[in-house]
């Protein structure tokens, strides 16, 4: 276990280092932020001074060196636009995105697993066909269109749920969350559902095929021969086997939920870090973009780590120490 953690940690640092190089070079190639940051009528001297202040007069290598040196000292640079530490800007917005992502994850499991079990246990029934057709819709609707339809139906026509922004926010255990009040929750439902719909379809299908695969196996028949109830057979024997592929896929997809929150955040004006990224790219606010991507990569690394731990808990045949 310790060996596993140490190895994982050093791999992660390497990944972060390589990402930083790629991102830094990439954002450098996009354009010179000075043209956006400086008023068009600024004097030459003002312009020179600004370039110097932002460190834009140095070569790419020099700039990267400075960045890396500062990063190793815990400083990911200051936003050109807001003149604040970029990491503060991101961490400020991150809880909103994580909240959205976790609620979407919860919805996809809480809806997808029962639906998948339900249709997997009654293959080719009307219910199964309906669920399967529904999941194809869930896969194929474009995220932004589906978001606008949700707003149209539930906010405009029915008037049940608000369409934009984040509702009341409370601080619980140092985390700001909207889950403590109806105002907060009602603002969360539509964007979270929009973000979750694809995953619901995915989890439903994974669960269904897992059920179809496991039910004919000998261990299920043996469990029946022991006199266990169908309920226990499905919810313990079969489900625990199915959870292994679900955790794998959902773990990989969870990073995607966070990254793709950008579209949903934009549609529903959700004040998360995805929106910050879009704004920062528009303004060529390099330090924020670089810091954002490093934070997201770190999240991916953490998620993968959690998935591996879960994996070893679910499947006794997997030992963390021996994993490559």
């Amino acid at each position: 276990m310790t060996v596993f953690i140490i190895r994982r940690l050093s791999q992660s640092l390497l990944v972060l280092f390589i990402t930083s190089i790629i991102v830094f070079a990439g954002i450098y190639a996009i354009g010179n932020p000075i043209d956006i940051l400086i008023a068009p009528d600024a004097t030459f001297a003002e312009r020179e001074q600004a370039i110097k202040a932002l460190g834009l007069d140095q070569s790419l290598i020099e700039q990267y060196g400075t960045f890396l040196w500062n990063a190793l000292h815990g400083d990911l640079g200051r936003s050109f636009v807001f003149n604040q530490p970029s990491i503060d800007l991101i961490l400020n917005r991150m809880p909103a995105t994580l909240e959205l992502a976790f609620v979407a994850l919860f919805l996809s499991l809480a809806i997808g697993i029962p639906l998948g079990l339900w249709s997997g246990l009654r293959p080719n029934s009307v219910l199964d066909e309906t669920v399967m057709t529904g999941s194809i819709l869930g896969f194929s609707l474009p995220n932004f269109w589906q978001g606008m339809m949700l707003i149209m139906i539930f906010s405009v026509w029915l008037g049940w749920l608000p369409s934009t922004g984040r509702g009341e926010v409370d601080t619980v255990l140092g985390m700001r969350t909207s889950l403590t009040s109806w105002s907060g929750i009602s603002h969360l439902i539509l964007p979270a559902f929009n973000l979750a719909l694809f995953k619901i379809s995915l989890v439903t299908r994974l669960t269904r095929s897992g059920v179809r695969e496991n039910m004919p196996l000998d261990f299920v028949k043996f469990a029946r021969a022991k006199g266990l109830s169908e309920r226990r057979i499905v919810s313990v024997h079969v489900l625990k086997n199915i959870m292994i592929p679900i955790v794998t896929v959902v773990g990989v997809e969870f990073g995607g939920i966070i990254a793709f929150a950008i579209v949903t955040e934009t549609i529903f004006a959700w004040p998360g870090m995805g929106k910050l990224l879009i704004d920062s790219i528009m303004r060529l606010d390099r330090p924020v973009v670089v810091a954002y991507l490093l934070v997201v990569v770190t999240l991916f690394i953490v998620i993968n780590f959690v998935v591996d731990i879960l994996y070893s808990l679910l499947d006794p045949r997997i030992r963390l120490g021996s994993a490559a």
Partner: protein
């Protein structure tokens, strides 16, 4: 209880597939008494496993028991509700399967899989259930059963897994055990250990045992009586010594001649010519007639059940009986 533990009368189990009705079990009758071992032999596909599953009410759709009676302790259990069947399964009737690699759930500990079996039928504490599980492991010869309870199936060899399955079957001291080729997948040495153990346990616990096998050699040493199955029917049944020493049915003779130990060294082994007919293309009358050296036109009609002494057979051309 005076009557036989299990009495199967004219059992029919059919599968209603798209291609037609597969008559997997087509009129099977036999009985087993307390403390008795009945060997059920026949080549693969002859309907042995489906006979066993029918007794436990575990035939999967599209199959079902379409006719006959299964009297367990004098009560017909065909058509019992699934709830009533569940109180019998694992408690009064237990089953052991062929492939020990597949019968235990790979992701649950041995303890979980044993304790749940106890708790499915009896209202005892977890601690009590655990003690019972440990004792059952000890009874089937698993060393240091206390520690082994925490193990998972992959940590056991095939032979050990089969012992665990046997221990699970014994948890409630069932009146009847159906063992479906439990040693076929094991090494010969392990096989004979398990055979000896089952023999002892049957006597010690006074169970009735139906031992399914395709191997006459195994059955010869274990069973008091033997039933030979072919194409969904029992073609010959009687005390083991009578049937094996003086076979009546040409199919039984063929089976015996294809066992190497029964043929003098150097003499050619006599394989039964041809193959068992596919279940959807069985000929009218005797299903064995196309492979039988003694067949005549009368064999195109249904052979009746004949008996002499304790042996019964279905054949128009019974072969040499014991010289009076």
């Amino acid at each position: 209880m005076n009557g036989p533990t299990l009495k199967v009368e004219n059992l029919h189990t059919h599968f209603f597939t798209e291609k037609g009705v597969v008559k997997a079990v087509d009129g099977v009758s036999f009985e087993v008494a307390r403390g008795e071992v009945l060997g059920l032999v026949g080549e693969s596909g002859s309907g042995k496993s489906i006979t066993g599953f029918s007794i436990l009410g575990l035939v999967d759709p599209p199959g079902r028991v379409t006719g006959g009676r299964i009297l367990f302790q004098g009560e017909d259990i065909v058509g019992l509700s699934s709830k009533e069947m569940r109180t019998l399964r694992g408690r009064r009737i237990a089953m052991i399967f062929q492939d020990p690699m597949m019968t235990l759930n790979p992701v649950l500990s041995i303890e979980t899989q044993m304790v749940e079996t106890v708790l499915a039928h009896e209202n005892v504490s977890r601690g009590e259930a655990r003690t019972r599980s440990r004792d059952a492991l000890g009874m089937v010869g698993i060393p240091s059963p206390d520690e082994r309870l925490a193990s998972y199936p992959h940590q056991f060899s095939g032979g050990m897994r089969q012992r665990v399955a046997i221990a699970i079957a014994l948890l409630h001291r069932p009146e009847l055990i159906i063992a479906d080729e439990p040693t076929t997948a094991l090494d010969v040495t392990i096989q004979s250990q398990i055979l000896a153990q089952m023999q002892g346990l049957t006597k010690q616990l006074g169970m009735a045992l139906v031992w399914i096998s395709h191997d006459l050699g195994v059955v010869a040493g274990l069973a008091h009586r033997v039933a030979v199955m072919y194409a969904g029917r029992i073609v010959e049944i009687g005390p083991t010594d009578d049937v094996l020493d003086y076979p009546t049915h040409p199919y039984t003779i063929g089976l015996l001649q294809s066992v190497p130990a029964n043929v003098p060294r150097g003499a050619p082994l006599l394989a039964i010519p041809g193959m068992a007919p596919p279940p959807l293309q069985r000929p009218s009358g005797c299903p064995f007639r196309q492979r039988c050296a003694f067949a005549t036109t009368i064999c195109e009609t249904e052979p009746p059940l004949d008996a002499a002494g304790a042996v019964a057979w279905r054949c128009f051309h019974p072969q040499a009986r014991r010289a009076a």
